[in-house]
Assembly symmetry: C2
Homo-oligomer: 363 residues x 2
């Protein structure tokens, strides 16, 4: 059970029978998500999630797609990210409030839902703060498997916040990265990441600058959180044969790369209408050519074209990735029993008799 | 507690400390929503909800508004309905699957969420199947208070499904309706409504046809569920001085009224861009004049102009109504303690150390 505190006031019992199966929605709490990760194993789960996403990217055309639906405030954004493959419906609620960490709150929190398209009934509610961290890292590594130079062994990670360690381990698990070079504007963040990555079979090098971090790296991951135009990588820092995994620039007015880098790169994106609003390419004209990553994954378009090319995965996160992750978690939760059941859907015996059900519950 | 069944498998305990307050989201289950309705009293709650909606309709311009976001299937639709007033964010998940009742499922199920716009953290998760039934009825009665002929005492209700009794009681509570005349294509639905409305200080007249139901009625409520163009009311059935409360026509291809009735009516809607897609007025040209109900409520536009006018509230349900209802329920749930707390948001001590929190939870 995930209820850690008693209900503040006792409530009278009614003689309403226990809700039926249809009324009880499987719920994966934070506690159960953490148990699930440890049951499966973190790196296995990262590989599984990449495989689940790859499977769905191959059938990209079966999904209904749209930009996510934002609500902006001065401090951040709340977004809904729905999609469906016609059988299953999924959406994620996610916020991005960079200022939160100053008051001890997460920058990004999330939860998600799956439902049956044929009945509209929810079939899973799940925490997604942890799951989003995992799927984002799995997505990055999956893209890099198609775009990074062959035999990449060294990755720089600029920005050592909540997503950093997940990125490092996903790239280790999926690409065989051996060395990660970390830099953050706040040395305490780097220290935290170094500590967390001990005994993970990775050489972890804390660096004193972004310039030092990218030395010898075939892959550069940028994953900073400030909600503003920033230049984490300037033009002269990026040489030929680099893969850039740009994770942090993911909402209007929030970018990480110098425009000149974009002009020298082959750019790969998830869903162009969303990325043109939110990604690094918001700095470019709306007709600047980009390749949709699913086409590379499905074998329809080339990924990396030459050893010297600069490839850029302009990642903003797309609804289908969350869908894949939720479908995966649902299956594993059912297998392991690592879920609770929420009394979330009213379920009268006679579906037209909602009123009667309510009245029969009178204490 | 709302967990009616044990967790299917035992899970190992970890030494993770109990989540903090920020991580535990207040959750109003179906059980607690029913307790809340009985604690407050059904008619009081209908009046309170109408007042809450009226309050928010008066400040209509402070809200971000958009059409709801649908995902259609052959059987029905799943929709997300977000809005915010800049301080609080709310959304509802709702489905409409008319075919569901044949397999013992609800046509409409729903749940909703409130969050803090400044942090993005959820502050309430609530069942909304029952709450939607209540707020829809409260909205109908609120509109009728501004539009129906003065001194209306008799209402016809065409369609006696899950929403019927809520409509009857809301119109009794808010307008003083004394007689309801019920008709449904399925006599069993009418029987159920008659049974449920016993001892409610209402004259309840089951009728053999729609024509009989509207005899002597000043208000005609249509609330059928079929997902297709239908003609519940034909032109010759509607005389002068009637208020039509059209609740059932609420998605593309789903209407209840003959087009000729619309052409003779003063039409009032919630949010025109959404109603033109979903409401009765989808039968009319996109520039057919309509009045936004909030302008009537705020005193900026007249409602009923004459004793003989036909007024039509072309109701489809709008996000602000759910927002109002959720804000109301949140306050009442906090007062009464009728809620649980869900472990839905990961909350590491150091917000950048999500990974460390996950690792420390290793069994």
């Amino acid at each position: 059970m995930t209820m850690h505190q008693p209900m503040p006031a006792a409530a009278p019992q009614t003689d309403r029978p226990a809700p039926s199966d249809k009324a009880l929605i499987p719920f994966v709490s934070v506690e159960n998500m953490m148990r699930l990760v440890h049951r499966i194993g973190l790196e296995t789960m990262l590989r599984d999630l990449a495989e689940a996403i790859e499977h769905d990217f191959r059938r990209w055309e079966s999904f209904e797609k749209r930009e996510r639906i934002p609500a902006h405030s001065a401090e951040g954004v709340i977004e809904l990210m729905p999609t469906t493959d016609g059988e299953v419906y999924g959406f994620k609620y996610v916020n991005g409030h960079p200022i939160n960490s100053r008051s001890g709150l997460q920058t990004v929190t999330a939860f998600g839902l799956l439902a049956d398209m044929h009945t509209g009934y929810p079939v899973l509610l799940s925490e997604m703060t942890i799951l989003t961290a995992l799927r984002t890292a799995a997505m990055s590594a999956l893209a890099a498997r198609h775009l990074a130079p062959e035999g990449s062994k060294v990755m720089a990670v600029i920005g050592n916040g909540a997503q950093c360690e997940f990125q490092c381990l996903a790239f280790r698990a999926l690409l065989g990265i051996e060395e990660v070079r970390l830099w953050d504007i706040d040395p305490a963040a780097t220290d935290k990441a170094v500590r967390n990555l001990r005994n993970r079979d990775l050489r972890v090098i804390p660096c004193a600058s972004a310039e030092e971090a990218i030395l010898g790296a075939q892959i550069v991951t940028t994953v900073t959180a400030d909600k503003k135009f920033a230049t984490i990588l300037s033009d002269n820092m990026v040489g030929p044969g680099i893969h850039i995994n740009a994770v942090g620039g993911d909402s209007p007015g929030k970018t990480e790369l110098a425009r000149e880098i974009l002009l020298r790169s082959d750019i790969f994106v998830e869903y162009p209408p969303q990325t043109r609003i939110e990604g690094e390419i918001q700095q470019l004209p709306p007709d600047h050519p980009v390749t949709e990553l699913w086409e590379v994954i499905a074998g329809r378009k080339p990924g990396r074209r030459s050893r010297d090319a600069i490839t850029l995965f302009d990642s903003v996160g797309f609804a289908i990735e969350d869908f894949s992750a939720l479908v995966y978690v649902r299956a594993r939760a059912m297998e392991t029993g690592l879920y609770d059941r929420l009394d979330m859907i009213a379920d009268p015996d006679d579906p037209r008799d909602l009123f009667g059900m309510l009245m029969r519950a009178r204490p």
